[in-house]
């Protein structure tokens, strides 16, 4: 069921209206004829709605940087020797994130759970509470290689304020609200004609849209998602970890690109005036020294152990811990990897290995 129908022009007007109170961030096209693909999209701050590319394929980097910046000060301190002066740095900047595909909405839900469970992380949560999310559904796979359908993240009905469905070529969007803030933003009664309540034709178009969408996504994994943990449980001693990781550079690009990777490092940075800050920075479990301790012992010294750790988290452990998706099938890690190590291929190979091993006694 749709809550409304909005024209492209009206949508842009409403986004510009949001700009009055909030910073706008959304997909912006970057044209680089010498690159493949020549047009790529990045989440960037914009001043006006017409700078946004709402029909973007996928953003090279995930939107996690908006909530968990690659480097952020947690504390500011005064370094005067032997004294103790420090305070938290909390960022409440009201922000609207426009153009989040369902996979990334699922990823944000995971970050929400991780940073609010147990010890609530005020740095993340302050940003999250100041964030207004406009999701944009994908009528078809955004690019080759994604496996969001297999991970059941190609659609979503929560975790955003508003979701937009592009119903037809003349850029008419079906609208669904998931929060009061979303409803207030696109309130049909404020319309100058571009926003209206849906009629039965619109609902039929929406049903067709969803039927077409179901057909547009091919399965890429040999098994349903819910069987992944069991498959992983039988793959711990596979030789594939070491064999595949032989070509890994331990660069951690897969972690940095991943919308559900949230591990971080904390370190102090000093300023010349005697002050400084304690910084949180993205870290990567694929990096050599991630589990290294003083004295030289490394608890995951081999690349194969690190690859195994990453895939276990993505395909089994995170879900067991949070009940949410550890991997949303966006394939950003696959695209980021210079060594062409592919998570979806690996999961396929492991599945094949487990099938060949037959059923467990």
């Amino acid at each position: 069921m749709l809550d409304g129908i909005i024209s492209h022009q009206e949508l842009l007007r409403r986004i510009d209206a949001l700009r009055v109170e909030r910073r706008l961030i959304g997909p912006v096209a970057r044209v680089e004829p010498e690159c493949m693909p020549p047009v790529r999209y990045f989440y960037q701050p914009v001043e006006r709605a017409d700078e946004l590319a709402l029909d973007f394929t996928y953003c090279v980097q995930s939107p996690k940087a908006v909530l968990l910046p690659p480097a952020e000060p947690l504390l500011r301190f005064d370094r005067e020797s032997g004294k103790f002066r420090a305070g938290p740095v909390i960022d409440h900047t009201p922000t609207a994130l426009i153009g989040v595909h369902p996979c990334d909405v699922h990823a944000i839900e995971l970050l929400d759970a991780v940073f609010s469970n147990g010890n609530a992380d005020g740095h993340y949560l302050a940003r999250r509470r100041s964030l207004f999310i406009v999701a944009v559904d994908c009528p078809e796979p955004c690019t080759e290689g994604v496996f969001c359908r297999d991970m059941e993240t190609h659609e979503t009905d929560r975790g955003f304020d508003v979701i937009l469905y592009r119903l037809d070529a003349d850029r008419r969007y079906g609208v669904v609200f998931a929060s009061d803030a979303g409803r207030a933003w696109l309130n049909p009664s404020l319309s100058s004609g571009g926003m209206r309540t849906p009629n039965s034709d619109d609902e039929r178009t929406f049903i067709r849209y969803r039927q077409n969408k179901e057909r547009a996504f091919e399965p890429r994994l040999p098994m349903p998602r819910r069987e992944l943990p069991e498959m992983m449980a039988r793959s711990y001693d596979s030789l594939l970890w070491e064999a595949t990781a032989q070509r890994c550079y331990s660069c951690g690009s897969c972690n940095l690109a991943c919308p559900t990777c949230y591990c971080f490092d904390i370190r102090d940075e000093n300023e010349l005036n005697g002050g400084g800050c304690r910084l949180r920075e993205w870290d990567a479990c694929m990096a050599r020294d991630f589990a290294l301790v003083a004295g030289g012992h490394n608890f995951r010294a081999k690349p194969g152990q690190r690859l195994r750790h990453r895939l276990y988290r993505k395909a089994a452990w995170i879900e067991a811990q949070t009940g949410l998706h550890g991997c949303v099938g966006c394939a950003r890690c696959d695209r980021a990897c210079t060594a062409k190590i592919s998570i979806v291929e690996m999961l396929g190979q492991l599945a094949e290995e487990v099938q060949h091993a037959g059923t467990r006694p």
Binding site: A86, I90, D112, V114, N119, R129, F264, R278, A294, T322
Partner: protein, 291 residues
């Protein structure tokens, strides 16, 4: 890490966040006593006067602003009042900065963190504590606790091994424990020198000092480097002690200490939250913890 409420799609709107879980509280250094060339014992007190309220086996994150923060076990028992002690070995950036502090200076403390020994479960039992190297620091919190609450425990044995006589921590205390008759404390060093009149060899050799133990009544704590763990566990299991009577403490790299940063994971377990003290039965299921 389990979601408290899977229906809550958005973080609760109820609290504001004027504080940070990463903000330490101020503690004053009261005393610094060198114990070895590399290890010193720091006596601290929170400036608020609050007692830490820890269990033996728990740790704190200690900060020196400008240098960073690192996890250190609390090496004194909660029974000793609001002051607490940390035994710190200087090995890198933060620990060297800590060693430059003098009494009267301030440090940052977050904690107590993690899970230590469940002392109520230990009450009423005979105790066997086995420690290796630096790990006498966390073990000492438990040892002091048993001595302070002596009437709650049966027989009490402590086995401690260090690489050389120079590397023994808490030498004065070891000597005092050696003289008491309500604790049987045995010490061994890998490499003896001419000053050393005790035994030489690995810590497992000390098992021959133990009398016949009452298997059902004995609780065991094993605290030491990964290499020691395996050999000691073989001896402990050979004694026939039930596996759910054995506690182990393990080491991992740690950054946040509160289950977020991911550094401390052993397979799917966040050691900073569920550990560093585990029941042996739990560790056995963690391949990365025992390999």
């Amino acid at each position: 890490m389990r979601a408290r409420d899977p229906e809550t799609r958005r973080p609760a709107d109820t609290t504001d966040f004027p504080y940070s879980i990463y903000l330490p509280e101020a503690a004053r250094v009261l005393n610094v006593n060198p114990m070895t060339e590399l290890d010193s014992l720091f006596e601290l007190e929170l400036e608020s006067g609050r007692a830490l309220g820890h269990a033996p086996g728990q740790f704190v994150q200690v900060s020196v602003f400008g240098f960073g923060e690192c996890p250190i076990s609390i090496s004194s028992s909660p029974t000793r009042g609001p002051r607490f002690e940390l035994s710190i070995r200087r090995v890198g950036e933060v620990t060297n900065a800590l060693h430059r502090l003098r009494s009267g200076d301030s440090v940052g403390i977050r904690g107590p963190l993690g899970h230590g020994f469940d002392v109520r479960e230990l009450h009423g039992h005979d105790m066997l504590v086995i420690a290796g190297g630096c790990a006498l620091a966390p073990a000492r919190s438990l040892i002091q606790y048993v001595l302070d609450e002596r009437q709650r425990f049966g027989s009490f044995h402590v086995l401690y091994g260090a690489r050389s006589p120079n590397e023994l921590l808490f030498r004065d205390e070891l000597a005092r424990w050696g003289q008491r008759d309500d604790v049987h404390c045995h010490v061994i060093v890998d490499h003896a020198d001419e000053s050393w009149r005790g035994r030489a060899g690995v810590v497992t050799k000390l098992f021959d000092e133990l009398p016949e133990l009452d298997r059902e009544r004995t609780m065991v704590a094993v605290i030491g480097p990964p290499i020691m763990f395996r050999f000691v566990m073989l001896e402990v299991l050979a004694l026939g002690i039930p596996q759910n009577h054995v506690y182990c403490s393990i080491e991992r790299r740690m950054k946040c200490g509160i289950g977020k940063c991911g550094h401390c994971q052993a397979n799917d377990v966040y050691v900073c939250m569920e550990g560093p003290v585990f029941k042996y039965g739990r560790l056995k299921a963690l391949r990365e913890a025992i390999e």
